[in-house]
Each structure stands twice: as structure tokens, then as C-alpha cells.
Symmetry: C2
Subunit: 196 residues, 2 copies
DNA sequence: CGCGACGTTGATTTGCCTCAACGATTGTGG
DNA sequence: CCACAATCGTTGAGGCAAATCAACGTCGCG
């Protein structure tokens, strides 16, 4: 049950057996059923969740009442509202399971304690978030500079697994376009280059 | 000369006199004249820079040869290409001074050493980047879900000082619209609600 | 079995871009 | 110190990518 997260966290830094045990004592397992919520708007996000199995989405509801999907997350990813978590203030976001999911969660207090007792992990988490920051920057660059079609192609290339697992409507929302537009983009692509 | 950065870094964590001195020995002052470059495309970003005085922009050049501005930074902010810095690989970005600027910079090796010797600062920097992440997330949400006009209003509200200091063309680039569009947006706003 | 979610397609609208021209301001070299 | 160039902001005309509104077939789930 812990093997994946252990491997995930020790990718760049040595962590001893004892430290792993400490880590395990600070995290707990959590199951969320399809359509279940890990976080709802208005709550303080009190966790960072590592996904052992399953698929979730993070989104907010815009003025028009539509979902705007910000992130999909599958196995071996983390999901959280970092802003809400790190400042311990209410979130505007929802995190909802798209499939039955199995998570390992750590809460704010335990994360603090863990860093005190295993300083090496503070480094690991700092590097993780630096990496996330760079990824988000790249996504941001695409979103301002590229057309809907380019963004879709990029998405398919980057996350082929998610394209399989998630309905098209939701991918459209993630890309910031309407489902109708995505449908048209796909049919146009298909005419141009009949499958690879 | 160090008073601002000391205050900045000790906002959330206690740092002793001796630790501050260590910090000062690892950073160095740097002056960049208006239109001077702190980073150019192709270089590895080997610094994180704290702005004591001045104003800079970070941008890349898109396929059409246009500047796409990703960040403005003024006094008491940090600027760097985090992706390039943390992975020590070439950057796609430029960082250029919009005014004569005075910076305090720390390079990769010194930052590592500093964290080893003052673990409390690892925490400070982790929190800083978490904060930056949250800010970037918010900006990203706006860019996919909001109209040009909404984004401009948001910008004016959030960074009134920058609106004063930076030409409109550059703000347009930051907002992901053309200067012409921004001009029209402003004139339309002015008709609707003749100043506040 | 029936209802709601999903995907597709068509007609129309719209927000923003592109291209172009022009006046005002800033900065610079002779 | 002036002249000229470059930068900046504005305005107009026309075009295009994607949104909106609407209708319809399919599928899977309760």
C-alpha cells in the first residue's frame, strides 16, 4: 500500500526505513467513490492527497454556473488546493472523483510535524512544488499563445491515458473551450489526417 | 541595503543575526539598467533575484516574433525562471529591466549551501513558492474563464502601481490581448462608467 | 424501459485579431 | 536645441475562431 508513495518521494533524496515509518504514521488512507467529493467550495483544504488508484478532477463553478476544470489527476499524482492548504483559508474549488479512488492523505499539522522530524522531506516537497510550478507555467504559456486545436493536440500527446478515461465534455472544459468546439476540432483533424 | 530582504524573509520564520549574516554572504548586489537583460533565451537561469528597487519584465518570443509577457516584478518581489533554475537547463525566457533596477541575487550553489546551513530558510522558500503557485493558478483561471475586459479590470485592481509604471502595450501583452483591443476596452469602460 | 449524459452537426453571433492610418509624446544624434 | 525617428495610444474596416443556441441520435445506468 505504501510502496508507490515511498518510491515517489525517494526519487531524488535518500530516505531511511525509520523515516518512511514515520511518514506512514502521518498519512492515512482514504477511499472516495465515483462522484464523491474530496473538497467542496467554502471548505478549507486540509490535505494533500497522493493518488494510489483512481482519477479525480479539480474545478470551480464560474459566474454562468459552468464547471471550469483546472486539473485531472490519476495514479502517482498529487491533488490539493495548494493556496487554500498553505494559507488555511476557504477554497473556491471542488475536488471530485471521476472513478472510485484510493488516496493517501496528509493533513496540515502532520505535514508540519513531518518536516520537522524529517527535514529531507521538506526538500522533496519544495522540489515537487517547483516542478509543479514549472508545469503550470508551461500550461499557462500554451493557453495564452496557442489555438484550441493546438492545445488539444498537446493534451492528447501529454496525457494520452486521460483522454481514454475522461469524457470529452470534461476535456473541453479543461482546455477552456466548449464541447461543441472540441467535437468540431476532432472531426476536422480526422479529415485532415485520418488517424495515425 | 539588506533591510528589505531580511524583513521579507523573516515574515513567517525566526531568523537569527548570525543566519542573516550568512545569508548576506551568499547573495550579491546587482544593478541592471533600463533595457538591460538579467536573463536571455538559451541561457541557464542561474539566479533568483530579489528586487530592492526598480521594475522588470519576464517574457518569451512567440512564433510570430511577438513578446508574450509572463510577469512584471517591482520592489519586494522575486524574479527568476524557476523551471530553468531548479533543473539547471536552458531557459526560453528573457528577463529585462523596464527601469534602472537594483537587485539582490543568489545563485544555485549558494542557495543549496544556504539551505543546508539555515534549514529554516528552506521552509521560507517553500512557502514562497507555494504562494507563487497559488497566484499563478489564479491568473491561469482568469485567463481561461474570463473576457479580456474582466482580466484588465482584475489587473488594475490587483496591481494599480504597475498600471502607472508600465506602458499599455506591455500590459496588453501580459493580458494576452493586442494593444488595440486594450485601447478599445478602456474607451468602452470610460463611456460606461466615467471614472470612479 | 426511460431518462439523462454524451457526442455530433448546423446556423448564427460575437469577441478579439489583423491591417492600416494618424496624432501625440519621448528620446536622441547632429 | 532642434529635427527626426521611434514609441505609444487611438480609431476604423474587415475577417476569423470559437461561442451560443438549437436539434437530434446513441448509449449506459438506475
Amino acid at each position: 500500500m505504501y510502496s508507490e508513495i515511498d518510491k515517489h518521494l525517494s526519487r531524488n533524496t535518500f530516505i531511511s526505513e525509520g523515516e518512511f515509518e514515520l511518514l506512514h504514521s502521518y498519512i492515512r488512507k482514504r477511499i472516495v467513490r465515483k462522484r464523491g467529493f474530496l473538497l467542496s467550495q467554502g471548505e478549507v483544504c486540509n490535505f494533500e492527497a497522493y493518488i494510489v488508484k483512481g482519477c479525480l478532477k479539480k474545478y470551480y463553478i464560474d459566474d454562468k454556473g459552468d464547471e471550469v476544470i483546472l486539473q485531472f489527476a490519476v495514479e502517482d499524482w498529487w491533488i490539493s488546493d495548494i493556496g487554500s492548504f498553505s494559507e488555511q483559508k476557504p477554497s473556491n474549488l471542488f475536488i471530485e472523483a471521476l472513478e472510485d479512488s484510493e488516496l493517501l492523505v496528509i493533513d496540515y499539522a502532520n505535514k508540519e510535524k513531518l518536516f520537522e522530524e524529517v527535514p529531507g522531506l521538506e526538500r522533496v516537497f519544495r522540489m515537487m512544488i517547483q516542478k509543479s510550478y514549472a508545469v503550470l507555467e508551461n500550461r499557462f504559456y500554451s493557453s495564452i499563445a496557442k489555438s484550441a486545436e493546438e492545445r488539444y493536440l498537446e493534451f492528447v500527446k501529454k496525457y494520452p491515458a486521460i483522454v481514454q478515461r475522461v469524457p470529452q465534455t470534461q476535456i473541453a472544459s479543461y482546455l477552456g473551450i466548449t464541447p461543441e468546439s472540441l467535437s468540431r476540432i476532432k472531426s476536422k483533424m480526422f479529415k485532415k489526417k485520418p488517424a495515425a
